[in-house]
Point group: C2
Chain length 235, copies 2
């Protein structure tokens, strides 16, 4: 039985981190709100009254919903062998995923620094300040952390000798940052050769290559998490 994935239609957003792991592993799923619309998503979300997701994305199976990207990936990792089996390794992988989630939250905060519920247009001066410190301080700090993590692993992936969900997530992080900050990324990404290597390796995994070539992969846009506003980018 395929999984039901529920996420806002029309954007990659946080749902993409789940999609990439599913696609790379060849796990069957239905992208329910893409098929049935945002209203169906809101109805389905309200139906999980016993254990409600706070927000999409979530995956349903056997009548219950698993929400929070890192939690979904933790589950998929253990049940579809997309994660190592040693405890220390599993915790390390999850830790990296949680740090990716932290960076993604900071990325969202750039275009919505003071009012999550209002438009970017209503907080442009604040966003400009947020983008400046993100480009200067946070980007190198996060990317340097992931580079160090990858470098310390003797294998060619983040952990061990095969891809895991944190590798597909790093791929998406690089893709998103290149879309959002093309000038800044061009200026600094060379400092992170291991990250770029993992990005390139993920891109050619058969499941990912097929996905990226399909119409299931939506283009980035300015409704998602990673948004390209030229005024926020600078080398």
């Amino acid at each position: 039985m395929p999984y039901n994935l529920w996420y806002w239609p029309g954007i990659q957003g946080r749902g993409e981190f789940v999609r990439l792991a599913l696609e790379a592993a060849g796990i069957e799923y239905r992208d329910c709100a893409r098929e049935r619309g945002a209203e169906a998503l809101m109805e389905d979300m309200a139906s999980h009254s016993r254990r409600p997701p706070f927000a999409p994305p979530y995956l349903t199976l056997d009548g219950f919903a698993i929400a929070q990207v890192a939690n979904i990936l933790l589950y998929l990792g253990e049940h579809h062998d997309l994660a190592p089996s040693r405890l220390a390794d599993r915790l390390w992988l999850h830790q990296l995923q949680l740090t990716i989630a932290d960076m993604v939250a900071e990325v969202h905060n750039i275009h919505h620094p003071v009012a999550m519920g209002a438009y970017y247009e209503d907080q442009k001066p604040e966003a400009a300040r947020a983008a400046e410190q993100f480009r200067a301080e946070r980007m190198p700090k996060f990317l340097g952390h992931f580079e160090d993590a990858a470098k310390a692993n003797p294998g060619e992936w983040l952990i061990d000798h095969r891809w895991t969900y944190a590798d597909t997530s790093l791929f998406q992080l690089v893709e998103g940052l290149r879309y959002m900050f093309p000038r800044r990324m061009a200026a600094i990404e060379g400092d992170y050769p291991q990250l770029l290597k993992i990005h390139a390796q993920v891109k050619t995994l058969p499941g990912i290559a097929a996905y990226l070539a399909s119409d299931r992969r939506l283009p980035f846009n300015t409704d998602g998490i990673f948004r390209h506003y030229p005024e926020l980018d600078e080398a």
Copy 2:
């Protein structure tokens, strides 16, 4: 052998979520940076070069470090029986903890909306806007979610009939919000009776009562995550 907990001395911060679980369960730990200072923390953090924490808090055991609050609690939950054993229950609990982490990140964002590395004093107008939407929209949304979660459980805790790490974390959330937004919390907390009940129950757990009465429990202050700036509070 006691665990080594490493976190910035002088504040409760994110470390407090780990401390509360350890104290409630009576698990021995050494609060290393309280004993040895911030410089020792930075040295220790740098020593984990193979698998570096991105930031404190982290727990060390058998030579490796576990970072990210929710990850640490996941580990403690499984290894010290502070979490249920059924898969669906464990995922639900972790999901709640991750949503608590999201709220804590938004709380931090209030006083540092545009420049995480700068002082609050350098971003006061932005912080005022961020606080306004947090009080009006985000607080009721998050607290309502946790209230619904607690209400849906037939037992007297968040899950089942005994406390887990998410209960001690909710306790800290209520404590922190009461310190940071006394007027706002006084105005709305009555809407969340189940949350307040869990808060009261955690407070009287023997391990927590002893901890709160000890000098190990630092007072809240304006260096931590929850900061009381009267100008940001309003009913």
